[in-house]
Subunit: 201 residues, 2 copies
C-alpha cells in the first residue's frame, strides 16, 4: 500500500508542476498564451503526458482560476480583524483594488475570462465565492444593526453594488490603458468617500 501512496504523491507533484508552469505562462503572457504545448515545454514533458493528469486545457484553466480566487481571498485576511464594519469595508475595497492592479493577469483570469462561473458555481453551497461575499453582506448587516445605514437597500444589494464599484475600477484600469485618467489611488479614494457618504448616516 505504500507504493500506491507514493504514486499518489508523485501524481499530485506532477499536477503541481503543470499548474505552476501554467500560472507562470498566464502571468507573463496572458491567458490566450496558455497552450498545452507551452506547458509541456516548460515542464520538459511531452504534450500528451499532461492529458494523463488533466482532462484537457479547460480543466487546467479552471483549477488555475480557482486558485487565483483563493489567492484573492487571502489578500483580504488583514481586513477581517478590523472591528468597525465601515472601516473593514473600506479596507477590503482598498485591498481588492490593490490586488487587481498588482496581479492583473490573475484578476483577468478570475473575473474577465470565461471560467469565472466555475468559482461561483457552487451557488447554494459555501464555496469560496459565496464565502467571501458573505463577508461583505455581514459587514452591511452589522452596520444596519448599529443603526448606521442611511438606505433601505438590502445588505445583498449594497454588497453587490460595492463589488461592482471596485470591480469597475480594476477592470477599467486593466483594459483601457490610460483611462480613467485619474490615478488609481485617487479614484479609489473618491469612490470610497462618495460611496460611504451615500450609504452611512
Amino acid at each position: 500500500m505504500g507504493a500506491t501512496e507514493r504514486r499518489e504523491r508523485e501524481k499530485a507533484a506532477f499536477r503541481e508542476q503543470v499548474l505552476d508552469a501554467a500560472r507562470k505562462i498566464v502571468l507573463t503572457h496572458g491567458f490566450q498564451a496558455l497552450t498545452m504545448r507551452k506547458i509541456a515545454e516548460a515542464i520538459e514533458y511531452a504534450p500528451g503526458t499532461i492529458y494523463l493528469y488533466f482532462e484537457n486545457r479547460d480543466a487546467i484553466a479552471a483549477e488555475l482560476t480557482q486558485r487565483g480566487f483563493e489567492e484573492l481571498l487571502r489578500a483580504f485576511a488583514p481586513a477581517t480583524e478590523i472591528a468597525d464594519p465601515a472601516e473593514r469595508l473600506k479596507r477590503i475595497g482598498e485591498l481588492y483594488v490593490k490586488f487587481g492592479l498588482e496581479h492583473p493577469e490573475t484578476y483577468r483570469l478570475i473575473f474577465m475570462e470565461r471560467y469565472t462561473s466555475a468559482v461561483f458555481d457552487a451557488k447554494h453551497d459555501s464555496g469560496p465565492g459565496n464565502q467571501a461575499f458573505q463577508f461583505l453582506i455581514d459587514a452591511f448587516d452589522r452596520l444596519r444593526a448599529q443603526g448606521r445605514l442611511a438606505t433601505d437597500a438590502t445588505s445583498t444589494q449594497l454588497a453587490d453594488a460595492f463589488w461592482c464599484a471596485v470591480h469597475g475600477i480594476v477592470s477599467l484600469k486593466l483594459t483601457c490603458d490610460g483611462y480613467p485618467e485619474t490615478p488609481t489611488g485617487d479614484l479609489q479614494r473618491v469612490m470610497q468617500s462618495v460611496l460611504f457618504r451615500g450609504v452611512l448616516k
Copy 2:
C-alpha cells in the same frame, strides 16, 4: 474622373460589406469567432480579397470597435436634452447600463477586448471618447457651479468614478453569469441612489 469616383464608391461599399458581416459575426458568435475566412464566406468572396481593402484582421476589429463606440454615444442622445445636470447624469447611467446589457458583444468589443485604446488614442484630441467623457465632466462642473456638490473631488475624478461604477455593473453582469445576484435594475437603482446621495448636498 467619374470612373475614379465610382471606384471610390465601390471600394467604400465593399468595406461596408465586410464590416457589416464582421459585426454580425461578433454579435452572434463573439469576438473570438471573427476570422477572415468567416467574413469572406459571409460576403461570398475569397479570403485574400479582403486584404485588398483592410490591412489585416486587427484593422477590421479596430474599425468595428470605433463604430460600436459611436453607437454607444448615440444611445446617450436622449439624455443630452435633460436640463438638470443631476437628472442628466442619472439618465446617462441608466442608458449606459441598458446599452451594455442589450448589446453585450458590442460592449465587450468596446471595453473588454484589446482594441479599446484605439477609440481613446486621440487622447489630446477631440476624439469620440473624450467628447463623450467631456459630457460627464460638464455635468459635474454644472453641479459645482450650482453649489450642489458636497465633495471637493474634481469633476474629472467624479466623472471617472461614475464611469467605473456603471462599467462595473455592466462588465460584472456580462462575465459572471448569475452574479451579482441582485437584478440589474435594482443594482442600477441602488448604485445610483448611493452615488448621488454621496455626491450631492
